[in-house]
């Protein structure tokens, strides 16, 4: 039998194709770690939904490999569509026996597309091919990306202003008007709008506050306040601070910190992400804390990967690695210390747990949230089917891939409802929004809560009864 290599079978094109550029190129070494076994297929939400090989991790890696080897073009619609349809949920990465670092090559592939669209790709990786250039994005997309990546998430004042406007929009009659008038339908924003959560009345603004530990001080920790968490979910930060204090932690909110940059790195704006990373590293450096605590899964995984993001930056690489080593997800942190079980009060509730991708897959944190939940007296944890399958919310995914986001959201809620639980617990703002949106659309009286909120509630019940 003649053996042909998988990669060299299709005919070589005569005109040079657009390949990757050298800058932020997806690593060929990582691509080649994939042995094409297919074990990741069934864990991939987009494969589960579409049943298409190209919408699977193996298929996407195969497409990247084909571009990398100059067999298909960066301009290929299939390639671009698949890089966009991927949720970057990294379920594939968690199950891959070969340890393929999928997130890294996906983010690099997206960066390749964005660079080429922006005309900033630089020299090609395959000699003899043209410099990677793609037609720019339509104006509205560029404006949106510019506003989101360039302004909103880079400058916290801008973000808070935006949040205030959204709050006004919700509280005032305008929301009612917009809903009734069908304006949103017209703009095709109805689904996105349904997702907006009730927004906190106030913000957590990090100004260097120090909250003392309750009782004996066992640890000193710093909290990442982030963007959405500090505005829409400020109440979750407050709960987090209370819970940490109950566990002997002194909690610091260092000033000058900001958004973690997840949206940027996931969306292909690696340089934007790097800028934010440097700012956060500087903000948290020299505090001498035992841990940097994050209560949002997406932010946590991003912070833990600063080392990788700044790998090629000699000035920042080591600082980034040192920073990342300190980062702890709040559930991971609590389950890892001898957390305070004696002051937990009774909550007679049935809860199901939706695992945020960036907790279970990106950070491999799966047992700890359950340890915390089941520690609460009276709480019954009912596992839903496919608890680790992405809920369809992934950064700006709801806007770029609304259909897939919708159907995954519906699938998640279907699964959650089979448990009969009255509360869906989670640990990430994206998930919280997505779940709440889908529940509201169905008119279901099921709450979405952060695990840390439930823990806080339990401590408070104890305090009230004691």
């Amino acid at each position: 039998m003649t053996v042909t290599q998988a990669s060299s079978s299709s005919t070589q094109p005569t005109i040079p194709l657009i390949g990757f550029s050298i800058k932020d190129k997806p690593s060929s070494d990582i691509i080649n770690t994939c042995v094409h076994c297919g074990l990741c297929l069934s864990s991939c939400p987009t494969y589960r939904e579409t049943g298409l090989e190209m919408a699977s991790p193996r298929g996407r890696i195969y497409l990247m490999k084909a571009v990398d080897e100059g067999r298909i073009s960066l301009a290929s619609e299939v390639f671009q569509e698949q890089m966009s349809l991927c949720l970057n949920c990294r379920a594939c990465e968690a199950v891959c026996p070969s340890g393929v670092q999928y997130g890294a090559i996906l983010e690099a592939s997206r960066a390749q597309i964005e660079q080429a669209r922006a005309g900033k790709a630089g020299p090609p990786a395959i000699p003899g091919t043209p410099e990677p250039k793609l037609p720019p994005r339509p104006l509205w997309q560029r404006a949106l990306r510019g506003a989101v990546f360039g302004v909103l998430f880079k400058r916290m004042e801008a973000f808070r202003l935006f949040s205030t406007m959204m709050r006004l929009y919700q509280r005032s009659g305008i929301q009612w008007l917009a809903r009734k008038s069908g304006l949103l339908k017209l703009l095709d924003l109805a689904d996105t709008e349904a997702m907006l959560p009730p927004i906190s009345d106030h913000y957590s603004v990090p100004r260097g506050q120090i909250f003392p530990a309750e009782g004996e001080r066992r640890y000193s920790v710093a909290l990442l306040t982030g963007c959405i968490m500090s505005t829409a979910f400020a109440h979750v930060h407050e709960a987090t601070i209370r819970v940490l204090r109950k566990n002997g932690c002194e909690v610091i909110l260092p000033p000058d910190q900001g958004c973690c940059g997840a949206l940027h790195t996931h969306g292909g704006d690696l340089d934007g992400g790097r800028e934010l990373a440097r700012r956060n590293i500087a903000a948290f450096e020299g505090l001498g804390v035992d841990a940097i605590i994050v209560n949002a899964a997406g932010c946590g995984s991003t912070l833990k990967e600063y080392g990788h993001l700044l790998h090629d930056d000699p000035e920042w690489r080591e600082r980034a690695e040192r920073f990342s080593a300190k980062v702890k997800d709040v559930h991971e942190f609590l389950a890892g210390i001898d957390f305070n079980r004696s002051e937990l009060g009774r909550l007679n509730i049935t809860v199901t747990y939706q695992e945020p991708c960036h907790l279970v897959h990106a950070q491999r944190i799966s047992a700890q949230p359950r340890v915390l939940l089941t520690a609460i007296p009276g709480l019954t944890l009912k596992e839903m089917p496919e608890s680790a399958l992405c809920c369809g919310s992934a950064g700006i995914y709801n806007i770029t891939q609304p259909d897939m986001a919708m159907s995954l959201g519906a699938r998640k809620i279907d699964n959650a409802l089979t448990t009969g639980a009255e509360i869906i617990a989670t640990a990430n703002p994206g998930c919280a929004l997505q779940l709440a949106g889908e529940l509201r659309r169905r008119g279901k009286n099921v709450q979405v809560r952060y695990i840390i909120e439930l823990l806080d509630e339990s401590y408070r019940v104890f305090a009230a009864t004691a």
């Binding site: 079978s9 297919g38 049943g51 190209m54």
Partner: protein, 877 residues
């Protein structure tokens, strides 16, 4: 087949029929369908369809066939023999969207599923119900039931539970014209050929599977896993044989060498030593809680005796899961060690494992490559993974050379070319080395029957220079050829011959073929037909190959069951079959697939027969299967011949899987006040965690009795008796437990109730087990109505009901036709000579009768082999 492009017209028609989103044509998208898990060869298809229903598959096949496109079914594409690679282009039919579980009937222990259901998803669905789909290929997390069936996949637990084909009751198939048919309906032992068994492992070359009825297995109450570390692979292999010889049948015996350990050690935090030579043996036992720890301790002691330097029991489920995930991830984890691997899949008799391992080691050194060994040691299924870099052509060559060397020695040691991954594209060239030309022709004949246009999965299984069509044509010519001049000593119709050897029998059959005289085989001493020559196997007796540690035996077909048991007994082994007349020949028992009550715990002939030697209708001798416990080398022709009633050839030798004698056995007898309470007890048994090896319902005008047999560790046996006693007493049963000779006697009397005897009418009705109670009730009512006496004996959890009928012949005939009308699987097993049977003595014609007839015509074109059997006789071929 040459590559044909998909025309615009075809694309439009497919879009119209399947929906636009189900038809893929962009070249970059097609590229992702150009290979499977093997990465051996790649070729993109011309078009991919992703149907959701069986009807859409049928439409797609019809349209593709009309356009002359090749058709390649694809599940998850985890196959590692290139099976799903569209080497000739054409249409890939992906079953990824056919992922619905259609029916689950836990009481019947079966489920109906679409082919794209992922093995692990089915198991996740079944687990809360207390059941599993037992085949557990390491790829189960992703691979589909359709793919598992098509490759007859195995897994670590196959040692105890068997391979996929043991767990498939029927499949729905789309044939080359786009017509859909079922190979069965889930009822056990239907009359006719076992198409289900034949289609399992056929690698998509005989049609597209669009649904399957699969068997469910109760989840064990308790599981114990132990990981033992040995200084060498050879030491571990010796321990494997010792564990088997000691008489316990673990669910798995899996070996990982130091390279395999390296691949998974850190990723799954196993904390194992990685020094060269270190070999891990994973042993799992399951069952009821009682006695399991004792069993584990015995195994641990054996490991120590064989040089294990560290033995780590994994007691909690989390640790067990981690060990198994790690084991199942080895192949996938190779990416951590090398960019690619060549996985060799071969099975040898278990006792040859040490020889094979030394050989692998020699090859490794000779070619200077890294080899990682991870394998199903209990089954003798080797999996050396040769690590290489595909970008280096020299390394590729060396990897292939090692694979060739391993397979060569394996064949020489009585092994097979593939144990579980299939032949696909990868191993076509080995087929002519394994099969004789006549055997290859027989395989090609089957191919020709189901795939006459060659549209299904072309270029697979058969080597390019021996196309199925050419082989089948050669065979047809061979079977047609008649040369009257060579006939000497021609036996006359009605005569009885008992040749000294199979070779002499082949001469006789050859002569009959030339003279156009039919042949009927027998194990007995008298002529069975006045029209045919009766060829007796009575002189062929005794052991041909028996290696007790392999748990397999090959005997001549004339050997009786009693003789076989006598051969096995000194080694504390057995065949778990009880018959009223143990002096029947094994050839006859296999041909008729005669079953017994213990099939609940041990399965039946289709699960035990590993290989057969057969004389074909023109007198040529062929060997089907091999004396190893797993085999996907070509089609599973053995299944075709089991239960074929001598219509396809004369069986001259039988190779079987045998079992260790259980250390203890007991039978609980419960006499119930009425049938309702008896069936209520049976329901409770079915849904309990108990694992009886037989549950028999016996009813006649005297009494209603349920007999439950339990075998295994003494503590487990006592637990069964104790718990079942309490359960039976809840329904006011009077209960006794019988043991030793009392037990033997009881079962002897029980099986006599349905031994075919000339003087009595004996019927068999088959139904889904859930319907067994209602069916028995209906049978009793019909008997009452027709005023006949019916003694009912049922394999209560298998859905097989035997009815011994006495009374007026006309009334019995009316009773028979009542049952035949109500139950399609009503079969007249025996009747006195003057009884005029109802027309449908074989039950309803099976749905796949056309395929069965086509097989018969292709193998025996002149209808010479046992022409009276089945409905073939009534309907003329």
């Amino acid at each position: 087949m040459t590559s044909v492009a998909a025309s615009a017209e075809l694309i439009a028609e497919l879009r119209a029929a399947l929906g636009a989103e189900a038809v893929i044509t962009e070249p970059e998208a097609l590229l992702t369908y150009d290979s499977d898990g093997s990465m051996l060869v790649a070729h993109p298809p011309a078009i991919v369809v992703v149907p959701t229903t069986a009807e859409q598959v049928a439409t797609a096949v019809r349209l593709a066939a009309r356009a002359g496109l090749a058709i390649v079914a694809r599940g998850a594409g985890t196959g590692i023999a290139g099976g799903a690679v569209p080497l000739c282009g054409g249409m890939v039919i992906s079953t990824a969207r056919m992922d619905n579980i259609l029916t689950v009937d836990v009481r019947s222990r079966l489920a109906i599923v679409q082919p794209g259901v992922v093995n692990a998803d089915l198991n996740a669905y079944l687990a809360p119900l207390g059941y599993q789909f037992a085949p557990d290929p390491s790829s189960q997390r992703a691979s589909t039931i359709g793919g598992n069936i098509a490759t007859n996949a195995g897994g670590p637990h196959c040692l105890k539970y068997g391979v996929t084909s043991n767990h498939v009751l029927a499949v729905e198939v789309v044939d080359h014209t786009g017509h859909r048919y079922w190979s069965g309906d889930g009822v056990l032992d239907p009359i006719g050929y076992d198409l289900t068994g034949l289609l399992a492992g056929s690698e998509g070359t005989l049609g597209v599977v669009t649904a399957a009825i699969v068997r469910l297995t109760p989840l064990p109450e308790a599981v114990r896993v132990v990981l033992a570390l040995f200084p060498s692979v050879v030491a571990a292999a010796a321990a494997v044989s010792a564990v088997i010889a000691a008489g316990s049948l673990p669910t798995s015996l899996e070996v990982m060498d130091h390279n395999a350990i390296r691949a998974v050690n850190s990723a799954y935090s196993l904390g194992l030593p990685e020094t060269t030579g270190t070999t891990a043996l994973i042993i799992e036992v399951d069952g009821v809680q009682d006695g399991l720890d004792d069993q584990l301790d015995q195994i641990i002691a054996i490991c120590h005796q064989h040089g294990a330097f560290d033995v780590r029991p994994a007691r909690d489920p989390a640790t067990q899961a981690r060990v198994w995930t790690a084991r199942k991830s080895v192949a996938g984890a190779i990416g951590r060690l090398a960019p690619a691997y060549y996985l060799v899949d071969t099975v040898v008799p278990r006792t040859r494992l040490p020889v094979m391992m030394e050989h692998v080691e020699r090859l490794r050194a000779e070619y200077g490559m890294e080899v990682c060994n991870v394998f199903h040691a209990g089954d003798g299924n080797l999996h050396p993974l040769v690590l290489y870099d595909p970008r280096d052509p020299d390394q590729r060559q060396r990897a292939h050379a090692i694979a060739a060397g391993v397979l060569e020695l394996s064949i020489a040691q009585g092994g097979v070319v593939s144990g579980e991954h299939g032949i696909g594209l990868e191993k076509c060239e080995y087929l002519p080395r394994f099969f004789s030309p006549a055997e290859l022709q027989l395989h090609a004949t089957i191919h020709q029957v189901f795939n006459p246009t060659g549209c299904f999965n072309p270029a697979k299984i058969f080597p390019p220079d021996t196309t199925p069509a050419a082989l089948a044509a050669a065979r047809a010519a061979r079977l047609q050829q008649r040369d009257p001049t060579i006939i000497q000593n021609l036996p006359i119709p009605g005569s009885f011959v008992a040749p000294e050897t199979p070779a002499a029998a082949a001469e006789v059959i050859n002569a009959c073929h030339h003279a156009g005289i039919p042949v009927v085989a027998t194990g007995g001493t008298v002529a069975r037909s006045s029209q045919a020559v009766t060829v007796s196997t009575m002189h062929w007796r005794g052991i041909l190959v028996y290696e007790p540690d392999d748990l397999t035996i090959k005997v001549a077909a004339g050997t009786t069951l009693a003789e076989l048991q006598a051969i096995l007994a000194p080694h504390r082994q057995m065949l778990p079959l009880d018959l009223a007349d143990p002096h029947q020949s094994l050839g006859g028992l296999v041909a008729m697939a005669v079953d017994g009550p213990r099939r609940l715990g041990y399965g039946s002939w289709r699960d035990w027969v590993l290989a057969l030697d057969v004389i074909e209708p023109d007198g040529i001798q062929v060997r089907l299967g091999a004396q190893v416990v797993k085999n996907v080398t070509g089609y599973d022709l053995v299944k075709l011949y089991v239960g074929s009633a001598g219509t396809l050839g004369v069986i001259t030798a039988v190779a079987l899987k045998v079992f260790p004698q259980p250390p203890a056995s007991a039978t609980l007898l419960g006499q119930f006040p009425d049938s309702a309470s008896a069936w209520a007890f049976i329901d409770d048994l079915a849904t309990s965690r108990l694992l009886p090896t037989a549950v028999e319902y016996l009813a006649d005008h005297h009494a209603i009795v349920v007999a439950m047999r339990t075998e295994g560790h003494p503590a487990a046996v006592e637990r069964h008796i104790h718990q079942a006693t309490i359960m039976a007493q809840r329904y006011a049963a009077s209960v006794t437990a019988v043991r030793d000779t009392d037990e033997t006697n009881f079962w002897h009397q029980t099986v006599a109730r349905y031994a075919p005897m000339r003087e009595q009418v004996l019927l068999r009705v088959g139904v889904w087990p859930a319907h067994c109670a209602a069916t028995v009730q209906a049978i009793t009512a019909h008997a009452h109505h027709r005023q006949v006496t019916a003694a009912v004996t049922a394999h209560a959890l298998n859905g097989i009901i035997y009815i011994q009928v006495t009374g007026d012949f006309q009334q019995i005939a009316a009773f028979h036709s009542d049952l035949a009308a109500a139950f399609p699987h009503t079969h007249l097993l025996a009747a006195p000579p003057d009884f005029i049977p109802h027309a449908e003595r074989w039950g309803h014609l099976p749905a796949a009768r056309d395929q069965m007839r086509a097989i018969k015509v292709a193998i025996d074109p002149h209808n010479q082999m046992n022409p009276e059997a089945f409905w073939f006789a009534d309907n003329r071929l």
